[in-house]
């Protein structure tokens, strides 16, 4: 089983790297870019565990390790 976890800053947190990317895109002429926010992708491959266990463990890992809940939020999905 493979899952994908997306970690990104909470809306209230300033993302200067995202801003830097946005400005670079605007400079390149993509003048319709409104905003860019940068995050992280984790692809986690799991040995045989049940779907139930996955649904319990992945949010736990995401909350405890992959993200800093003070400044980041996460989302995840099973991809395989």
């Amino acid at each position: 089983m493979k899952v994908r976890v997306l970690v990104s800053f909470k809306e209230s947190v300033l993302d200067p790297q995202g801003q830097a990317v946005k400005n670079a895109l605007l400079t390149l002429g993509y003048d319709f870019i409104k905003d860019v926010r940068q995050g992280k992708v984790f692809e986690i491959e799991l040995n045989n565990i049940s779907r139930e266990k996955t649904e319990q463990v992945i949010p736990e890992i995401s909350h405890k390790v992959l993200s800093n809940p003070i400044i980041e939020k996460f989302d995840w999905e099973i991809i395989e």
Binding site: S12, V13, L14, P16, Q17, V65, L66, N68, I70, I71
Partner: protein, 229 residues
């Protein structure tokens, strides 16, 4: 007094810190390997600067799970004196021993320079040798020193006078230019509610001998020694 300096893979300010405590201030000092479970009866634990685990994932995010952090957390929760310098501050934040988090510096540059900071509160184990409002000149060297806290916790931190050091100009004034990493409330050093755990981004161990340009940093260590006496 016995000072235990924790070493993680990637810590690189451990030797400078030991040098100051042992050879400049004549204190018994030793290293504590992150995988051990023994604090060796240290009176004060220091988490030094560096790049523990290469700053992988987030600065301090992996170091906070090191085996020794269990003993350090217990030590801190029972009132033991803990000082986190730079990466050490980041570990304390990730561990939850201090509130808030660090973001990338506002200007997206690694900042490596001397800066001024103001002592806001001298009633702590870390600043009792200083004077309120005293301006210190101490170097910083970090990429992720932009202190952030949500509004609820920030209010509490301010009410409890937990911001111990604030970035300022050479005259002790708070302004945007001198808050070079963009930290909320110009926070350079933060103490916990219990007044025993301090995190600071500047490196006092790099400013403890006039030979290096400033010995303002020595006040932090001298205060700890004074408090523990």
């Amino acid at each position: 007094m016995r000072f235990g300096i924790v070493v993680f893979p990637g810590s690189n300010c451990d030797h400078d810190t030991l040098y100051v405590l042992k050879h400049v201030l004549g204190q018994e000092s030793f290293f504590l390997w992150h995988k051990d479970h023994d604090l060796k009866q240290a009176d004060c634990i220091i988490l030094p600067g560096g790049f523990s685990y290469g700053d992988y994932l987030r600065s301090g995010a992996i170091a906070r799970f090191s085996p020794l952090m269990q003993e350090i957390k217990e030590f801190a929760l029972s009132g033991g004196i803990v000082l986190g310098i730079c990466n050490g501050f980041q570990v304390l934040l990730e561990l939850g021993l201090l509130p808030g988090a660090m973001l990338r510096n506002k200007n997206l540059k690694f900042l490596c320079q001397n800066v001024h900071m103001r002592i806001e509160n001298t009633e702590t184990p870390f600043t009792n040798k200083g004077k309120p409002g005293q301006v210190l000149n101490i170097p910083i060297a970090h990429f992720d020193g932009n202190y952030y806290s949500d509004s609820h916790h920030l209010k509490k931190i301010i009410q409890n006078h937990q911001i111990i050091l604030r970035y300022c100009d050479s005259e002790g004034r708070l302004n945007e230019e001198s808050n070079i990493n963009g930290s909320m409330e110009h926070t350079a050093g933060l103490i916990n509610e219990n007044n025993n755990v301090l995190g600071m981004m500047p490196h006092p161990e790099r400013a403890s001998e006039i030979l290096l340009g400033s010995c303002d940093g020595r006040i932090i260590f001298e205060s700890i020694i004074n408090y523990l006496k």
